[in-house]
Amino acid sequence: MKTKRTAVTRALWRFTSAIGVAAIAAFGVTESHAADDKTSITIGYAVSKSGPNAGGADMTVTPNYELWVNEVNEAGGIKLPDGSQLPIEVVEYDDRSSAEEVVRAVERLATQDEVDFILPPWGTGFNLAVAPLMAKFGYPHLAGAAVTDKAPEFVERWDTSFWFMGGGGDYTSALADILVQARDAGTINNKVAMISVADGFGIDLVNAARPDLEAAGMEIAYDKAFPPQTSDFATILNEAEATGADSFIAFSYPPHTFALTKQAQVANYSPPVFYLGVGAGFPVYSDISSGKMEGVMSLGGIDPNNELNAAYRAKHQEVIGRAPDYWGSVLIYASLQMLQQAIERVGLDRAAVTEELSTGTFETVLGTTKLEDNQLRDIWWTGQWQDGTFVAVAPGDRAGAGSVVLPKPGWQ
């Protein structure tokens, strides 16, 4: 009898707790649906909080979303054209680094949560995966952490899409220019050793680099792809060094970038040009290279004398507790400021916001910003570590550009 009663109580307890969970879920939904007399602007996003993409998303994307929401809400919210001021409410999902998951999450944000605006996920592939949905539901798509040469095509196909990080060819042609100058000045020889990760970013960049380097008359002495799981680069660096190339280029993701740096130091391989992929512009790179990163080159960079950028970096450090990277972070933050200003000018009508983003001029952390054909073009293509800062060196004719210092000094 006694056991029976406990079984019944247990079942009852289970039942009530199930109702409780359901009630909480229902309450949560109604709360975000109370849209008639709006008390907040809902912003949704799905980013990789777990899985292989989490490291990149946690560096470049998520902190900037958090920083921006924090800034806006501290100031009391976004001021709409009708004079009202609404704070931002966030609906956030983890896409678990799965492309199917990010698509499902964005669909859910659009149809179930009915958020006012959707912020993009991290990564080129993921942004392409959600682009058709964003266009279908009419949400402006501020593709921040996505490098693609096809942006002009995509803008035609998905007219609500905006691209903030340029294309692979932009970065590789800037690099090729630097190499040509150094070669013509007699600083480096004509040979290039190039490796790339066999995944989105690496494939795009290396495909863009090959024709650029050939057109520049450089000889590609070593050109190999490696799987993303690779953690040991001893052999690859040996082979690259054996070609006698003065320029080493790696289109790599952060774990590879870090491992390549450590291995190059161990093997005392310090070619005159040492160019790495994603991760070399992370603040943590200074620790990884034991402070010996002088002369290492990569994508991105900042103008150390730009006050707006310095203020942004200080704010990021203060609110998030760590510094932003030297490449994508500031671009993503600028895209959010543009979204905010567009909403302030035209309200919550998504079509009008898209139009404003496309044609308007904005005051952002990058200065006065205007998109060209829905693309941001004021981007630093190449940077180099100089005196503890990752200084932008290309395009060299843009105001604030530093000059490349080659050859790179040794690791010691």
């Binding site: 990789s48 909080k49 777990s50 899985g51 292989p52 989490a54 490291g55 998303a57 946690d58 560096m59 680094s97 490796i195 066999a198 190999k224 792809a225 490696f226 799987p227 799981q229 690779t230 953690s231 040991d232 001893a234 052999t235 690859i236 040996n238 082979e239 952060p254 774990p255 870090f258 491992a259 450590k262 291995q263 130091q265 161990v266 093997a267 005392n268 991760g279 992370f282 943590v284 620790d287 990884i288 290279s289 034991s290």
Partner: protein
């Protein structure tokens, strides 16, 4: 050629070190621990914390984390695995149940790490200097992993084949049904084997953290690699894990040097397939 063999040996040392723990857990305790790689990651973060916050040497971290992992794994076995062992009708059922439970454990550990450390890439440098080994420069930290694999492998082998306790472990591995007839407490032996496996995972984690970048969610990569090595070597066989790990390291290095770095993964699985075709129980496995 010779330098590639040295590099391969050193790379294989890492594989062997992490696989030996799993072979203890899977081969002897019969727990297919999918959270194995996450134990390694916990040790990575533990080392990182001790190094960055308390300025301890990673080698001292070994002295703290390895016993810590032993106790932790022992507790995990008591709390989560013991009920499964008690109710499982046979070994196969236990393997399936343990896969499900450790799959859950994997997410718990990952979640806790994400809350504490976030999803960012974590890395520090220690012993990142070149050491000349017979004319080839290898990094000291990877060499340390290789030496530790040999030392731990050797020590455990000695225990297994030269002590009474080791004999009990082997008895449980070979004939868990008959072992109780000789007065061996199979559960107790399994508990210790699981805990020793966890301690080995932690020692691997400490060394790996010195040269590899890790994130809170990178554990599955280690689990997969360790699982391949364990199955190649024969589950439960320490010498198998040691040799299979080193063979994989050398194969990967040679393929990267002479064929294409893009084919290292393919080469790994080709070796895996070839060996399993001819020896389904692995290099040193006994027929199950």
């Amino acid at each position: 050629m010779f330098e590639h063999i040295v590099n391969g040996l050193v790379l294989g040392g890492t594989y062997a070190l992490i696989a030996m723990g799993l072979t203890m857990q899977y081969g002897i305790a019969r727990i297919m621990n999918l959270a194995f790689g996450d134990t390694i990651i916990v040790a990575c973060f533990g080392t990182y914390l001790l190094v960055s916050a308390f300025a301890l040497s990673p080698l001292l971290a070994l002295l703290i984390l390895v016993p810590g992992a032993f106790v932790f794994s022992y507790a995990v076995f008591l709390a989560l695995m013991q009920p499964l062992v008690a109710r499982a009708p046979n070994r196969e059922a236990l393997e399936v149940d343990s896969i499900l439970v450790t799959f859950g454990l994997l997410f718990v550990i990952q979640g806790i790490l994400l809350v504490i450390f976030g999803g960012a890439y974590t890395s520090y440098s220690y012993l990142n200097v070149g050491v000349n080994v017979l004319g080839t420069t290898v990094s000291a930290n990877r060499l340390l992993a290789f030496v530790m694999a040999l030392v731990f492998g050797g020590a455990l082998m000695f225990v297994l084949f030269r002590t009474r306790w080791g004999m009990m472990l082997r008895a449980v591995e070979l004939a868990p049904e008959s072992a109780p007839l000789y007065g061996i407490d199979v559960d107790r032996v399994a508990r210790y084997a699981f805990a020793v496996g966890g301690a080995l995972a932690a020692s691997g984690g400490v060394v790996v953290s010195m040269y590899q970048t890790f994130t809170a969610t990178a554990g599955v990569v280690f689990t997969m690699k360790a699982l391949i090595v364990v199955i190649l070597g024969g589950k439960g066989s320490l010498i198998g894990a040691l040799i299979a790990g080193i063979v994989l390291g050398i194969v990967e290095t040679l393929v990267a040097a002479y064929i294409d770095p893009g084919l290292t993964l393919a080469a790994t699985y080709a070796v895996f397939l070839a060996i399993l075709l001819f020896r389904p129980t692995g290099l040193f496995g006994s027929a199950a």
